[in-house]
């Protein structure tokens, strides 16, 4: 077993164990904090796949932004330590059935498809190529994304102002 495979299994174990805690913990605080391990493991996977810019983006936006805002919201809402209030779980059996069927179909599909498969990219800095892609073929989606972010910003302010006024 070579080094890359060992690193992959360690990162995958961190990611999957944290995701297990997120999915099955009875306390919403544990779920939110376990998501940190999952995001960090995925960031390591990005490094393994040679995506250095995405690694930094993952750290900045997911761990520094989304996770902090989520934990902030968890702390702001009521009775977080009370399991029956904070993290009630219903419909476990139907959910198990659904994810078992979906998982079996997807596992069959991904093991029985011959993906177009190169040997794997060489590890070079990706910032230059991503920047060229954003200003070249992806210029229009890039501009639309900025409008989406502006709409989200204004929408969040409007919603929370209405909440504060009442």
């Amino acid at each position: 077993m070579n080094l890359a495979l060992t690193v992959f299994y360690v990162l995958a174990a961190v990611t999957v164990l944290s995701a297990l805690i997120t999915a099955f913990s009875r306390n919403i605080v544990y779920s939110a904090f376990a998501l940190f391990g999952s995001f960090a493991g995925v960031a390591g996977i990005y490094i393994l796949l040679g995506a250095d810019f995405l690694f930094i983006i993952q750290i900045f936006i997911y761990i520094g932004g989304i996770l902090v805002v989520t934990i902030f919201a968890v702390m702001l809402t009521q009775a977080i330590a009370d399991v029956n209030v904070s993290n009630r779980v219903v419909g476990m059996f139907p959910a198990f059935m659904v994810i078992a069927v979906v998982g079996a179909v997807m596992l069959y599909a991904l093991t029985h498809t011959s993906w177009p498969h190169g040997p794997g990219a060489t590890l070079v800095p990706t910032t230059y190529g991503i920047g060229n892609a954003f200003l070249g073929p992806y210029a229009l989606p890039f501009e639309v994304a900025s409008i989406v972010l502006l709409a989200a910003l204004v929408g969040a302010i409007v919603i929370s102002r209405q909440a504060a006024r009442e």
Partner: protein, 105 residues
């Protein structure tokens, strides 16, 4: 990278993350718990995008560009979702999605 992790390794990791996120989003009655599950699903999609971009013989950066778009939409979704959750909590004093049936009546 001859005996390193193959494309299937990363796809199976993405599948496991997606299933755990789906389970979390399906069974939680806490609205924030549902958002956590959706974040896991989006991360699984990103793992697949970047893995395909790495192993693709032609497209070098397209997968990573799409992953950046997914991360951007995840951030916008988290901000709007949490703003709505806090507004609901201010009005109804609960974020249990089974209890919030005001819109239905």
């Amino acid at each position: 990278m001859s005996s390193g992790p193959t494309l299937t390794h990363f796809l199976v990791l993405g599948l496991i993350l997606f299933l755990l996120g789906s389970y979390c989003a399906l069974t939680r009655r806490n609205a924030i718990g549902i958002l956590l599950g959706i974040e896991l699903i989006l991360n699984a999609a990103n793992v697949n995008y970047v893995a395909f971009a790495f192993f693709s013989p032609v497209a070098k950066y397209d997968g990573q560009v799409f992953a950046i778009f997914v991360i951007m939409l995840a951030a916008a979704e988290a901000v709007i979702g949490l703003a709505i959750i806090l507004a609901i909590y201010q009005n109804l004093r609960t974020i249990d999605v089974s209890a919030n049936e005001t819109l239905r009546d």
